[in-house]
Symmetry: C2
DNA sequence: GAAAGGTTAAACTAAATGGTTAAAAAAATG
DNA sequence: CATTTTTTTAACCATTTAGTTTAACCTTTC
């Protein structure tokens, strides 16, 4: 379900994968060491043999997930594209990423809402070490404005709207379906494909019809 | 922090309020009965005297929060406005609601990610009892399209984009700030005010400049 | 002021769970 | 084969926590 982590020994790898699945599924507190062991097909003793404590295991996985969930998107910003191309590529890549790992964002947000020292620590490390240079995103938007490709607006607001638009469906999927969708006739795959196009359309041209095109 | 619930006896009310605060803050599993009792200024025995179990307490609060978080927004759809007015009003109302209760959405989403039988049950009840008529939202959008006020697009996609845009900042606030914002010079209040205007602008007119206005 | 019900304190049970331990068994290694 | 490392088993400890119980105390009400 999720890409491989840096590989070490076989069992170690197996444990990490199992832990990741269980943590994502059940959350930090919902996840039990016994369940992780079961899921990895080993016993609890061995689990502790490799990873001293639940906390250690958790933050290792947390760090990996944040990285895995963001690095591709940020590296996109190094390419040399027009703003519309950037926007389109971001929406496509991010939506695909979410489609394949729909539970990760909520997992991260959950951690966040529980005080989230782990998150903040991991994040700050990534930002301060320069691995996450988010200012690139703002610069890309700024440049788009300077070159007249897009209207002037606080780049932060643009970021929030783009990311929020992409993210929403995936974090709210069960609620969204219950509220709005007739399960029987709903084609998830197709909706997600349309989602990309719709977001791009909407953010580019807006809901109000244009006179000029 | 959160509006009063339907009032019963004094202590009962006090307990509900305390439970709500603690559950929102710590989540279903993070919340402890002892802490709720402390928070309400009573002891655990009395807590169980009024509410037999944690589960009962939890789902009572959960139901209230879903209702509280959505009913205002849905009732808006009964008024007779042009689509731009609807859009504007929704963005303003919803953002204000989120500003005052920023932890509720994440609380709900969290429940959701943990299997969330409680959510689904509560939601389905609300939908099937007719208290939540979400089709009204889709109809308002449809009408806007039929009258040429907005471009044609799957109404579901429109909903997802609008709600996602409003919601994102509030559920990701700590992460968002860490990644993008210089805490020292950041004015939250102002950002949120601007947020409304930006979302409205962006969804109405898009990022690509218009030739005609 | 007596009865009823609300409230407290404190000790208790039972279950879940993170983590440990020690000894044996199995697998890998040289 | 001898040694080291990995893995299992199974019992065990300590802690947390939901929920109970009992006896006493306070407050209201008739």
């Amino acid at each position: 379900m999720v890409k491989k982590m840096i590989h070490t020994s076989d069992k170690e790898q197996l444990i990490l994968q199992a832990a990741m699945d269980v943590f994502i599924e059940k959350g930090r507190h919902g996840a039990k060491m016994q369940e992780i062991a079961d899921h990895a097909g080993i016993n609890k003793a061995l689990l502790h043999y490799y990873y001293r404590s639940k906390e250690k295991l958790y933050s290792k996985i947390f760090e990996f997930l944040i990285w895995h969930n963001m690095s591709d998107l940020l590296s996109l910003l190094d390419s040399d594209l027009s703003f519309p191309e950037y926007l389109r590529t971001f929406i496509w890549n991010y939506t695909d990423l979410l489609k394949e790992n729909p539970k990760i964002p909520l997992f991260i947000l959950k951690e966040l809402s529980e005080g989230g020292d782990t998150v903040q620590t991991v994040l700050k490390n990534l930002v301060e070490s320069g691995k996450f240079d988010t200012s690139k995103a703002l610069k890309v938007i700024q440049r788009g404005m300077d070159q007249g490709e897009i209207v002037r607006m606080d780049p932060l607001q643009v970021v929030a709207t783009i990311v929020g638009s992409c993210l929403f469906y995936f974090i709210s999927e069960p609620i969204f379906k219950t509220l709005f969708v007739d399960e029987a006739s709903f084609d998830r795959e197709r909706f997600i494909q349309e989602r990309k196009e719709s977001i791009y359309q909407l953010l580019s041209y807006g809901l109000i019809p244009r006179g000029d095109q």
